[in-house]
């Protein structure tokens, strides 16, 4: 007899730590024992993203969803559900008093992710406009062009509560309204795809997976604001995203979804791509417009705001990729639907690029108001290697570092700003006990200093000074007075810099001084790096009692500073050691000591 049922057991780290492996084995042996081994296949899966209720067992094809399954429950599930077809009621996952065990839709209610921006990513072929259309693509544009006036479109976007996903969180509808209000013969729509934060790739993935959603949104924006020309400013380092955008634009033009007289409505809208050369500052809107005009990418003072005088002096609305990707859905499903997701001040979802010391790194989209704990432990599956959680870096070089005490903070624009970080573009980098805060902050400062355009003194000089002080501290030569100096410079930069690049450069320092000052003091007072990361403050040595002389470390050492015979303890020559940590990573016997 052929297989007709499948029993999926979560093999994610969270569930494994609660003995999902034994559940898996017991299910298999129960299937054999009950004589259904050739009809039911028991399979181990990747993380379901619901670790708090693990171990999880899902039955297909009926989509029943069991939570908190213990090894001793396995036999009952096999005997009752898979053999007799009777669900084991007390183990079924329940939401709002209903069993969510039946039907594809119901069984996925447990999921923390809600995909609006990424609704088509990983589902459609991005180079085939028909696939986009079959999933209600361009239905939002239809509705805007034929059923709504431009002011009604703006009112709908305003009512949705959508705010800019590029980081600052300015209300999108208001931006559109201001741009429309400015009297002019021409207005422009710009899509900011100059994603540059280290560890952030939300916009790239959106453009690669669903380019038409951004084209549709820009056309809707053009209609709403009375603009006939749009630009996509995208960094040249994203060749695949650019290629897919070009293919999508070509298809849209051929089908009359872009260009003159769109769908016979009389509305014209054209889009052009502008490639950025990779300067981080060009993600700042005034610098971005300078770059499109062909000038050196440097920020300009505001006001006037782009909505009054933007590209070539004309009113311009600049929206980020992720912001735009929400627009077609808002029109299609209505502002009330969109506003029902999220928190009172931040509506909808946010896409995060979850990276760092986490089991399930990936692109996640969650409703605003989801806590860091849910993202790190449920979706992310917890810290790699069972290490201790230390902090989350959010918002890239403009953001801050949030320690464990904020794990239960619901994430929205206000809450992150309140605790000294910011939403930023959506990079979330998880740090564990092996990460040195001072070292991490130095990495971001290094980035910001490198990317400063040099136009204003606070950013150009302040950033360099901060980096010098941090470097001094990581070498064990800092003083307590340096901390005060860093605070003062940071304070001045926040207030006096021309654009937000300089204004936010000190954020990583200031937020970590708030929560991890002791770690700075440890470097200063005791010339000691608690995480063992700052190279000038650590030495590597071999613990002779633990070394078995396997020679793995000696083979891994890039500078051949390890000596010792096979099967006898090895020795590190401190004069030659470059403190790269390769031996530490390679040793399976914990015989390498970092002190």
């Amino acid at each position: 007899m052929a297989l007709n049922q499948f029993c999926l057991v979560c093999g994610g780290t969270g569930c494994e730590s609660r003995h999902s492996d034994a559940v898996y084995k017991n299910l298999k042996s129960a299937a054999e024992e009950l004589g259904v081994g050739n009809q039911v296949q028991v399979v181990k899966t990747g993380c379901f993203g619901f670790c708090e209720k693990g171990p999880i067992v899902k039955i297909l094809p009926d989509e029943s969803f069991y939570v908190g399954v213990k090894p001793e429950d396995a036999h009952q599930i096999m005997a009752e559900h898979l053999v007799k077809g009777l669900p084991v009621e007390h183990l079924l996952h329940k939401t709002h008093g209903h069993h969510s065990g039946w039907g594809e839709y119901a069984s996925q209610l447990y999921q923390k992710q809600v995909r609006i921006v990424l609704r088509n990513c990983g589902i459609i072929d991005p180079e085939d406009v028909q696939e986009y259309i079959s999933r209600d693509g361009y239905a939002g544009l239809e509705k805007a062009l034929f059923e709504m006036s431009p002011t009604e479109v703006i009112a709908e976007v305003k009512a949705s509560g959508l705010r800019g996903r590029g980081g600052a969180g300015f209300p999108t509808g208001l931006k559109w309204e201001n741009t429309r209000k400015t009297v002019s013969d021409q207005r422009y729509v710009i899509c900011n795809a100059d994603e540059g934060d280290p560890g952030a790739y939300m916009d790239r993935s959106t453009l690669e997976g669903d380019p038409h959603s951004v084209l549709e949104a820009m056309t809707i924006a053009g209609y709403a604001m009375g603009a006939s020309q749009g630009f996509i400013y995208i960094r040249a380092e994203y060749p695949l995203a650019i290629h897919r955008l070009e293919v999508a634009m070509q298809q849209s033009r051929e089908m009359g979804l872009l260009g003159k007289d769109i769908l016979g409505s009389g509305f014209d809208f054209a889009i052009e791509i502008r490639l950025g050369a990779g300067a981080f500052v060009c993600g700042e809107e005034t610098a971005l417009m300078q770059s499109i005009e062909g000038n050196r990418g440097m920020p300009q003072p505001k006001p006037p705001y782009p909505s009054e005088s933007g590209l070539w002096g004309k009113p311009t609305a600049i929206n980020n990729v992720e912001t735009l990707a929400n627009i077609p859905v808002i029109l299609l499903k209505g502002s009330a639907w969109f506003a029902s997701i999220g928190t009172p001040t931040s509506k909808g979802t946010k896409v995060f690029a979850l990276t760092g010391k986490i089991n399930n790194s990936g692109l996640v989209e969650v409703p605003m108001g989801t806590t860091l704990r849910e993202i790190v432990y449920d979706i992310g599956g917890g810290i790699r290697g069972g290490k201790a959680f230390k902090a989350v870096q959010s918002g890239g070089p403009s953001g801050g570092v949030l320690p464990a005490q904020f794990l239960d903070t619901p994430i929205d624009y206000e809450s992150l700003t309140k605790v000294g970080s910011m939403m930023g573009s959506g990079g979330l980098i998880v740090l564990d006990e092996d990460d040195c805060i001072v070292d991490v902050v130095k990495f971001y400062l290094d980035f910001s200093v490198e990317e400063s355009c040099g136009k204003c003194a606070p950013c150009r000089i302040g950033g360099r000074k901060l980096l010098n002080l941090l470097t001094k501290i990581t070498k064990g030569k800092g003083t307590r007075a340096d901390i005060e100096t860093m605070r003062q410079i940071g304070f001045a930069m926040q207030r006096a810099s021309l654009c937000m690049l300089g204004g936010t450069t000190p954020n990583p320092i200031l937020s970590t001084l708030k929560y991890f000052e002791n770690e700075y003091l440890e470097h200063i007072d005791h010339q000691h790096c608690p995480a063992g990361k700052c190279k000038d403050l650590i030495t590597y040595s071999v613990l002779a009692s633990k070394c078995i002389g396997c020679t793995v470390c000696a083979r891994k050492c890039p500078v051949n500073c390890m000596s010792g015979e096979r099967k006898s303890a090895h020795f590190i020559d401190p004069a030659k050691c470059i403190k790269c940590g390769a031996c530490y990573e390679a040793c399976k016997f914990e015989a390498i000591l970092v002190s």
Binding site: L8, T45, V114, G122, I133, A139, L263
Partner: protein, 128 residues
């Protein structure tokens, strides 16, 4: 095209999609081919699928590229849809696993143990 053309096309496409998985025996493999997937070896995976389908003389399979499914930790990813089997997302699909998917999933109608993943979220476009 006009508004009516677009609406007509959308309805036709939706109907064709509904037909595909009820009766015409088409098997669809959707392969995650964003930068992330490609960097993790999705092109080799694609090649392995094509070759294995050819050697096994399976001709009713459509392989479709798509963007990122979000499983950076388990790229490359592939979604297999066919009649008689649940829609299944596979992760860490290297060339060897691709061959196993053809042999086990498509030909023997068995899941490939250790590579199954859950869809990351429900589909908002299917909700009313």
């Amino acid at each position: 095209m006009t508004l009516q053309d677009l609406r007509g096309l959308r309805e036709a496409l939706k109907a064709a999609l509904a037909r595909r998985f009820s009766g015409d025996h088409t098997i669809e493999i959707t392969l995650g081919m964003g930068t992330c997937g490609i960097a993790a070896g999705a092109k080799e995976t694609l090649e392995a699928f094509v070759n294995e389908l050819k050697t096994s003389a399976v001709h009713n399979v459509v392989i479709k590229p798509t963007g990122c499914m979000g499983f950076c930790h388990s790229e490359p990813t592939a979604l297999v849809k066919m009649e008689g089997m649940p829609d299944t997302i596979y992760g860490n699909v290297d060339a060897k696993t691709a061959r196993r998917i053809v042999q086990n999933h498509i030909l023997e109608k068995k899941l490939v143990d250790g590579h199954v993943f859950e869809r990351p979220s429900r589909d908002i476009l299917k909700e009313t």
